[in-house]
Each structure stands twice: as structure tokens, then as C-alpha cells.
Symmetry: C2
Subunit: 285 residues, 2 copies
């Protein structure tokens, strides 16, 4: 049985962007949207991100379901979706945490219909209007527990990722959640708290933002991100995120201590060593 | 006496970019470069950023001197440069801290030949190769103690800033240093320490950067910045920077405490409130 339709559950930044890529590359597929937010669903239809609107009950007809909702909602929806879909359907989620969702369906009779993925791409914007083509091109897609998905469905999924231009890495859910805390979750917190610190200051000191340049804008960009999406991520990855936060705070405390001691030679050396990030970032689009 | 030549002392990112703007907009001016780094000076000449090379002794002929070296070097050079230049010359510095440099020449007999400025623009790169045109266009230039500069020389400086497309704000050196700590110096530290935290982790966990997306790249971009430039800035703005660091660390500690208490409602509210940064950033190019 081949894929004739794709149901996108959650037509926001990620779901909408996936829909756009798939539609462009295979216009024969019928792309169906489902969203608890009725105005988002209408918007996605008006923007031609989806061909039609549907509800969760309609998933009985789905060949391919992409679940792109906040990770707490995904946890509740996924078992129900697996209950609903037919035996050859592929259901995949695209959430930023993988341990809980893999656990939630570990013993589900249709576990082999599910693929746990994390296409690592995004912007600080959200909703269907934020959906853009080629968001995932040359980006990394982490796939977890590939061996638990039916072989034929693995193939289907990989075809889609190939079309989207993604490179695949396989990882277990625990390793995914541990690593992603460093390279994604922590940088959101550092950005939100930087924004907070400066906003608090501005309450008393007017015009402070008049002095902000592009460096500040870049560092604080992620503080525009959706709290609806990010609160559940922090909740689901609590232990790992707290660990990264502690290491980050320790490094900041150490930097502060060096400043208090007037040890600017060590501060220089710290920064020089961290410049190594240049070479690392060259590998990131 | 009008301006026939401009001497750039320090032909790196900032000095070189200013030279490029001035040269493009007034090709009659002779742009002369001075740099303690001989290879940078040769590079600036080869890149046609400067018309000729010179040494500090040649400043006797200068009509306009732009001092664009790290802030500690500027502190030592400025009094000597003022000693050297003729009575109608304008000398301005472009450093990221203003209190110390204003103090250093407060009683200099040629104080009225000096203008303290901070054109707020830059990139994470350094050296003459990093110089780009239009770096300062639509950016803010903070001018300190304008009243201490001779009226005719104020005018000359403003003409140059107008050509560069900058908007001017006047501020006293102490207010400048306090505010810039929040919107520039702190974000460099947050970025360097984020880079450090992740690099340290990578030592034990290979391939972690394979998972880094554009969000991480944006947040950590400033960690590529030059330690040669930034160490003296932190040194010169020590008290203010420590204050911002303490507030930032407190906010991170509070976020961590909320996570430990499973108070994700407050975490949501924190992030929602900080989303206000969107409106603020709209004002930054």
C-alpha cells in the first residue's frame, strides 16, 4: 500500500513547513490538516499549506500521519492516533524530546506503526504563517528506536526525509534528550533569561535598547520563541535541562570570580579556548 | 582648516570599516593607516582600505585621527596622540567603554581636540579582512561629553557620522558604561559561557554538535569574538559587568528553582513576559 494522503496533526511552524516541502515535491499527495486551534486550521487552508481540513476521527483513512504538536499534547494524542489508524499507516512525531513519547507507546499494539523523529530545524516564530519551504534542507533528523518500526514504514519515512533533504542520525531516546538539552534547550533558556535581565533593567533605565546592536539581537533571538511549545519541552526534559543549567551557571560564576579577582589573563584564555566554537559552527548551516 | 587626511590608528574590523565608508563617500581624502601589527597594516594597504602606511610620529600632519584599538591600548595611546597632533586636529576614539578614556584626558591641554564616541556596530570577526562597508548604517553612535570638544571639531565629526548614516545619542560616560554592560557586554559573556559549557560536554560526548541547529548558532555567535578586544573591555567596565552578571545568574537560578519545583506555570509566564523582546528588537536593525 503506497502513500496517497498525509495528515498533519498540528499545522504550525514545523507541521506547516513539512507540508510545504512535501506538497512541492509531490503534488499528487493529498495533504490534510488537523488542529485544535480552528483559526490556525483555516489559516493553513487559506495559505494552501493543506488541501483540506479534518478531525482526529478521520485518521482512519490516513496513510501517513505527522504529529507536530507541543510534546505534552503529543504524549496524550499519540496512543489515540495509533488506536485509530489502519494497519499499514505510518505515524511519526517530530517533538524535541523523545524519551517520554517512546515510553508512552512502548507497549502499544501498533508500536510498529510509529516512528520517533526529531528534525532539528525551526525559527523563533510559530503558527501556520511561520511555515516556510526548505526549513529542513541539509539539517539533521534524529531517529530513535528505528528497530521498533515496521521495515516497510521505515522505508516510507526515509523517502520523505530524503525529499526534504535531511541527513539522518540514529540515537536512543535517552541519548537524544541528554544531548539536545545542551545544543538546543539550554540556549533557549540562556536567551530568555538574557532578555529578562535586560527588560527588567529597562524598567528603570529608559532608552537602554537604543544602544542594543546586532550582537544583542542575535543572542536574544530565541527569547521570541513560543512558551506554549517550550514549557512542555522543559517539563519533559527536566533532569537533563537542570544539569545543563547547573553547568552553565557554574561557568558564569567562575567567570564572575575571575573578574572579581582581576584575573584577566584567565578570562582571556577562557575566551581564546572558546573561540574553538568557530570551527564547530562551520559545520552548522 | 578643513580635513584633507584621516589617520586610522588600528586598521581592524572597526577602523577598517570606517575607512571604507569614508573613502567611498569622499575619494579626495587621503586615508592613512597606523597599526602596531605590521602584517595587518600591509593587509589593509593591499585591500585598499588605506592609501598609505604611517607611524605614530606622522600624526603631526593629521587633520582627523580615529583611534580604533582595544580599550586598554587606547588609554595609553590617546594622551600621546593628543600631544602629537596640531591645534586644529580632531581625535576621536570608538571604544566600547567610555569612563576611563574620558578620565585619562580630562586635564589634557588638548582635551578640546578629543571626541569620545562609541559607534555601536560590529561583527564577531576581527582584523582588516573583517572590515565591511555600511557596517554603521542606521546604527546608533553614542557621543560622550560633547561639550568638552571644540565646537568646530564637533561639526567635523558630525559630518562624518552623517556620511556613515549613523543616528546620534548623547550620554555621559558613566551612563554609557552602565547601559552598554547590559545590551552588549553581558550578551558576549552569556554567549562565551554557553559555548564553553557545550564544548566541555563534547569532550566526553562525541557528535553532540551534529545536533546543533541554527538557534544554537545564533545564541553562541558572539563566542567567536576576539579575546584581544574583549578582555580589556571587561576589565575597564568591571563593576558594571559584574552587576549585570549577578542579575543574569540570579534569573537563571530562579528559572532552575522553578523547574525543580515543577512550577511550569511560572516558567510559562516568565517566557511569555520575555516575548516582549519581539517588539523591542523590531527597533534594532
Amino acid at each position: 500500500m503506497s502513500v496517497r494522503n498525509i495528515y498533519i496533526v498540528g499545522v504550525g511552524l514545523i507541521g506547516g513547513s513539512i507540508a510545504k516541502d512535501i506538497k512541492r515535491l509531490n503534488s499528487n499527495l493529498n495533504i490534510v490538516g488537523i488542529d485544535s486551534n480552528a483559526s490556525h486550521l483555516d489559516e493553513a487552508k487559506a495559505l494552501q499549506i493543506i488541501d483540506e481540513k479534518a478531525t482526529l476521527e478521520d485518521l482512519v483513512q490516513a496513510d501517513f500521519v505527522i504529529l507536530s504538536v507541543p510534546v505534552d499534547a503529543a504524549l496524550h494524542l499519540l496512543p489515540k492516533i495509533l488506536d485509530t489508524v489502519h494497519d499499514d499507516a505510518l505515524v511519526m512525531d517530530v517533538g524535541s524530546t523523545k524519551t517520554n513519547i517512546c515510553k508512552a507507546v512502548a507497549n502499544h499494539p501498533k508500536r510498529r506503526n510509529f516512528l520517533a523523529t526529531h528534525p532539528i530545524a525551526g525559527t523563533e516564530f510559530s503558527g501556520p504563517k511561520a511555515a516556510v519551504e526548505n526549513l529542513f534542507r541539509h539539517k539533521t533528523n534524529i531517529i530513535c528506536e528505528i528497530e521498533k518500526t515496521a521495515f516497510k514504514l521505515q522505508e516510507k519515512a526515509l523517502t520523505i526525509f530524503q525529499i526534504m533533504g535531511m541527513r539522518i542520525r540514529y540515537m536512543n531516546p535517552e541519548a537524544h534528550d541528554k544531548h539536545i538539552a545542551y545544543v538546543s534547550h539550554l540556549s533557549h533558556i540562556s536567551s530568555f533569561m538574557l532578555g529578562k535581565t535586560v527588560i527588567e533593567k529597562e524598567k528603570n533605565e529608559r532608552d537602554i535598547f537604543d544602544m542594543a546592536g546586532s550582537g544583542f539581537a542575535s543572542t536574544v533571538r530565541l527569547a521570541k520563541s513560543s512558551p506554549e511549545m517550550w514549557t512542555p519541552i522543559f517539563k519533559h526534559n527536566k533532569e537533563n535541562v537542570i544539569e545543563t543549567l547547573e553547568e552553565y551557571i557554574n561557568n558564569l560564576e567562575q567567570f564572575k570570580a575571575l573578574m572579581k579577582q582581576d584575573d584577566f589573563e584567565s578570562i582571556f584564555n577562557e575566551m581564546k579556548a572558546t573561540n574553538h566554537i568557530k570551527d564547530i559552527l562551520n559545520g552548522i548551516a
